[in-house]
Symmetry: C2
Subunit: 110 residues, 2 copies
C-alpha cells in the first residue's frame, strides 16, 4: 500500500498526467484522442500513460490497433487519506482567522 | 495557485520529504534533529528541506547557527482539493460494492 502510494504520488506529480486523469474523468477515451489534446508526440503521451497504468490509475483496453483508456481513480484514495492527516493544520488556522475577524467585527460594532 | 500546486505535488512525491512533513507535524524541530532520523547526509536532507520550503510547506527560522523548521501545511489544501474532485469515483464504486453485498445478504436471508 505504502509502495503504491509512492507510485501514485509520482504519477500525479506531473501536470500532463494530471490533465490525462482530468480528461478520462469525463469517460473512457482512445489514446490517440487523448494525445491530440497535448502539445507533445504520441510517444510522449504514451510514456505518461504507462506511468499512470503502473500506478493503477489508468486501465488500457486493446481493440485491435485501438487503445482505449479508462480512469481507475481508487488509488487516489490513498493520497486523500495521506493529505487528510494534515487537515487539522489548515482548519485550525482558518479557525484562528475566523475568530480574529469575528473579534474585529465585534470591536467595530461596539 | 496552479503553479504552486505543481510545486507542492513534486514536493510530496518523495518519501523522505513526506517523512519530514510527518516529523514536523509533531512540532517545530532543528534541522539537525530532523536529519538524524534519516539514513542520508545533512546535505541530502537540506536539499529536501529546500524543496519543501520552495513549495511553501516548511518555514525555516535561523537562530545563529541553528535552523529551526516549522510545518506550514496550508498548501496541502490544494492537493486535498484536487484529489477530492475524484472522490465520486471511489465512492460510487464503494456504493456499488455495498449494494452488491447487501443484495447477497438479502438472498442468503431469504
Amino acid at each position: 500500500m505504502a509502495n503504491n502510494l509512492q507510485q501514485v504520488m509520482v504519477a500525479i506529480s506531473d501536470p500532463t498526467r494530471r490533465a490525462i486523469i482530468g480528461r478520462l474523468a469525463h469517460g473512457p477515451a482512445r489514446i490517440s484522442d487523448v494525445a491530440a489534446k497535448f502539445p507533445m508526440s504520441l510517444t510522449g503521451v504514451c510514456k505518461h500513460v504507462r506511468i499512470l497504468e503502473r500506478a493503477g490509475l489508468v486501465r488500457r483496453t486493446r481493440h485491435g490497433r485501438e487503445n482505449t483508456l479508462q480512469l481507475h481513480a481508487e488509488p487516489l484514495r490513498d493520497v486523500a487519506k495521506w493529505v487528510s492527516g494534515y487537515e487539522r493544520f489548515w482548519n485550525s488556522r482558518l479557525d484562528r482567522l475566523e475568530r480574529f475577524f469575528a473579534s474585529k467585527k465585534e470591536q467595530s460594532n461596539s
